[in-house]
Amino acid sequence: MSYLNFVTVSTCHGHGTQKLVEGILNGCGPQSRLNDSESPFFSKNDSFPSALEMVRSELAVQITEMKNQGLPERGRWGVILASTKGIIDDLIWNTEDYNFDTFTPILDEIKAIFPFPIERSLTVSNACTSSHAAIEMAQSWLRRNWVDHVFIFGFDKIGTFTLGGFQTLKALSHDSVVRPFDKNRNGLLLGDSSASCVISREPSRDSFIVGPVQGICEGVSATRPDISGINLKDCYQKACPETPDLVIAHGTGTFYNDATESKAIFQAFPDSRNIRVTCSKWSVGHSLGASGLIDLGLATEIFKQKIIPGILTLQESDLEVSENLVRKTEKFDGDNILISSLGFGGTCSALNVRKAQ
């Protein structure tokens, strides 16, 4: 068992988990600088801040918030970066400066700014399940008694490289509206975000329990999950042996992703009728390596505020979970949330968050 002792996010809605929920409740959509840009893809665009500048500023804010929460200074710390492409947009367009390492500069920034001595560090790059994989790795470090706390930072710069890649895949929403689980869903939007959390062996004030992360790679296709949902179902069942009160779905608004999650939820839990299902990407966009941590931040606010933000872009669903989907804000008095994640290459993962007693 491990404890979530801190989590914060920076999204298009502002800084902090409260701002995240406010933004979702207000119905704001993804506001990536690039989604609405007319800038040509596949070229360096100097009008956007460098990724490393973004890392510096967001890390500074998030670590200050962490310190202000009074986390224990004693103990051995590890840090993990969860990222899919790191700061690639800072490097890829400039042949002379391209040094073939898009992750280490971010880890170096964390090490430079982190207030406590760091025992070990690592980057986990498991596509869009990187946050979940990083938490799993953190839990391993705690279990092996290598460290007492792990600081995880999730970040991916949404730049011309990443956005252009998703465009070639035809995965972006045609009309700039993300409609997860909707009959007329037509793709995702990307969102600039970062998030961080601290996973510890011992609880602190206002901790949450994070169950063992269950992840798997099914090797079915490079671009879509096994649409039977069977492997994702297994992840759900192992991560959450008891039926969850709420599933925060990956909910990208892409055809196969949402259909697979819908099937997996229904197959995994016999009494699935009572499970509520919501998601965040319709509002904050898909932030790739940080997305799981953002949903973790959302889960903690759902526990604190006792409300579930709805999926305001949802109109009509023909999926199994249609009746489970939260369309408008609902009250929440549960104590068991499952967070789902999927990524390219058939990687899927799930984790369970509960309130510490």
Partner: protein, 160 residues
């Protein structure tokens, strides 16, 4: 403990020769060189494993570079800019499903990945560690894998 070790290399030349595992990976001709060498490696080795640790000291940078620079960029090239796709395609060729950990730590990548392999093994798991190292100037890729042998009494005796 007996440790199995296997290494291989792959030259990315055009036109590509059809690999033996092509029936399991229908679009094998779309793979990048690193994915080719990882699949070739694991098919040749045929080791048993229940988790796969993929250490890519240079991440997918050559593929990133090729994707960004080449005209007519294609979706199938973009997905190979993610390191876990290599593992995914190898599992597809082997008909397997298992956890995958794509680990990077700059110049410490190999050390970190080895440490993870030893720790997982100590916990009773049977991990395979795959290390991919592109030789970028020559379109040549090398890779190696290590996995623990079975822990039967007979195997231990034979090893001793």
């Amino acid at each position: 403990m007996k440790v199995h070790f296997h290494s291989t290399q792959f030259q990315m030349t055009q036109p590509l020769a059809e690999p033996v595992w092509s029936p399991k990976v229908p679009r094998w001709y779309q793979l990048d060189g690193a994915a080719h060498v990882v699949i070739q490696l694991l098919v040749e080795a045929n080791f048993q494993f229940d988790s796969l640790i993929l250490a890519s000291p240079q991440s997918c940078n050559q593929t990133d570079f090729d994707f960004a620079r080449n005209e007519g960029r294609k979706a199938q090239k973009f997905v190979h800019t993610l390191p876990n796709i290599r593992a995914s395609m190898a599992l597809q060729a082997l008909d397997r499903v298992c956890p995958v950990y794509c680990l990077l730590s700059g110049s410490d990548t190999l050390e970190v990945a080895l440490e993870e392999w030893v720790a997982q093994r100590a916990e009773g798991r049977r991990p395979a560690l795959v290390v991919v190292d592109p030789v970028t100037d020559e379109n040549q890729y090398t890779a190696w894998v290590m996995a623990a042998g079975p822990d039967t009494k007979a195997e231990v005796k034979k090893t001793l």
